[in-house]
């Protein structure tokens, strides 16, 4: 009877190679997961401007000290009105930039003369608290070019958004992080 052939690998080598292969497989899997997360960012909170009822809760219920919800302006549909009902109090003393005539509680809207009779309105996001007072004025009497959006340069994307729980218009929705904004592109009456 021939002697038993010598094995090509010893038990120790087998175990060592097996452990190495398992480690590499695990590392590969980990890299795959990381790569997947890097390309698919998941979902973030956003406000559907067509559902927003300007209830004021965005200003008072965000977990951040200053709300991550800001007013944004769709310039393409703005009327550049002299009597901007987003900018002015309902019954202003005069149509100028005097604080007593302006309705934004934090003076976050800037009014700039363009040419007779047009004025441009821009939002200073550092001051805007997302109260939607201007949005209501613009929607009620204007073209609806002012609207609210969650700004993702400051939103912490809570699992359960504190504003969404109290949103009176049920306007908070989850959207793909690849397309995180729901922008108006045409006036509501067009």
């Amino acid at each position: 009877m021939d002697p038993k052939p010598e094995p090509n690998v010893s038990r120790r080598q087998f175990l060592r190679d097996g452990a190495r292969a398992a480690a590499l497989t695990g590392l590969g899997g980990l890299l795959g997961v990381v790569a997947h997360r890097a390309t698919a960012k998941g979902f973030v909170w956003q406000i559907d401007p067509q559902k927003c009822v300007r209830c004021g809760n965005c200003a008072t219920h965000c977990v951040l000290e200053q709300s991550a919800v800001k007013c944004v302006h769709a310039y393409a549909i703005c009327g550049y009105c002299q009597l901007c009902t987003g900018y002015f109090e309902p019954e202003p003393n005069d149509l100028n930039t005097g604080a007593e005539n302006c309705q934004c509680p934090t003076s976050a809207i800037k009014r700039t003369y363009v040419e007779d009779p047009y004025y441009e309105y821009t939002i200073d996001e550092a001051l805007c608290i997302g109260c939607a007072k201007c949005v209501e004025g613009c929607n009620r009497f204007g073209n609806g070019s002012l609207f609210l959006q969650v700004r993702h340069d400051r939103c912490v994307n809570c699992n359960e958004c504190a504003i969404s729980k109290v949103c009176a218009g049920d306007a908070f929705v989850r959207v793909s992080a690849d397309h995180p904004y729901l922008l108006k592109t045409m006036s509501h009456g067009a």
């Binding site: 300007r54 004021g56 009327g79 019954e91 309705q103 929607n139 009497f141 609806g144 509501h188």
Partner: protein, 346 residues
Amino acid sequence: MKNRKQDITRRQFIKKGAQDAGLLALGSAVFAGTGRTAGAASAGADVNPFAYDVGRLRTTDPKLIQYEQVGVFRSPYPEPRRIAVGPEGRLYIAAGNYVSVVDRDGARVSEIALPRPAKCVAVAGDGTVYAGVKDHVEVFDSKGQRQAVWDSPGKKAWLSGLAVGEKDVFAADSGDRVVLRYDRSGKLLGRIGEKNKERNVPGLVLPSPYLDVKLAPDGLLRLNNTGRHRVEAYTVEGDLEFFWGKPSMAIDGFCGCCNPVGLALLPDGRYVTSEKGLPRVKIYSKEGAFECVVAGTESFSENWRKCSPSDCTTGGLDAAVGADGQIYILDMVEANVRVMARKKQA
């Protein structure tokens, strides 16, 4: 050693224990219910500290309202846009894909079918009907037979008002911010209201498509320059003669992005203006001084509601004046016509 005598029996202990547990459970339930009710009440009582409050503008000083409603009838079709008075006092309503002819009580006399939604209408003294769809004018004889289809003034055309004189037809084109002057055969004769520094014409500002035009008894045209919140008078050649009006939410002004959205003229040359946003119909003197209210915002609750939450650009009113001075108010949201007569004591 003798056992001390027990104060309560086992049965009493169990009975008392059960009573205490029941009371505890009841108390918990009541407390929880109270808390929940209080919480709900608190939530319901939340007041928006940033509310845009225009509630006080929803009512009109009764002393200013000098007309009363003497009738109302439905528009023959939904989405009415303009109303005009023709010969024999009949009303012509541009609504849906039709121009409907009705008598003063709203009974349908006839109707003219159009290929697209009717945006405006005017009627000549001989009964010829000029109907504007979005981008062109169609002409019909007094029996409703199509006589002509005029060329479109351009891709951006959005006709929103028409007026007709003895020799001319004027088409208010909101899309191109101009009033086009045609002869009765459809030949373009001129453009009115365009910005022109040499002629001192500032141009029309129209954030929404509500440009209207009327030909007054003095031979001048009246246009509503809505973005400037004023009424402007032009010669038929296009010279700006005068204007009046101011931006304001007060009763004597015009508010929002664009008002007034409709014009009509009383037999003595005074103005009837129609507005959206704050839906109201008012009368101004020939010089443009506010005189009185025909119907205030409180009369048009649906039209007001249409602007909230988000659809102001489709609301609004239009008006036409009968030979007897009665004012017909077309509500574009409720799709009805209100007949207004001056109060006897006014």
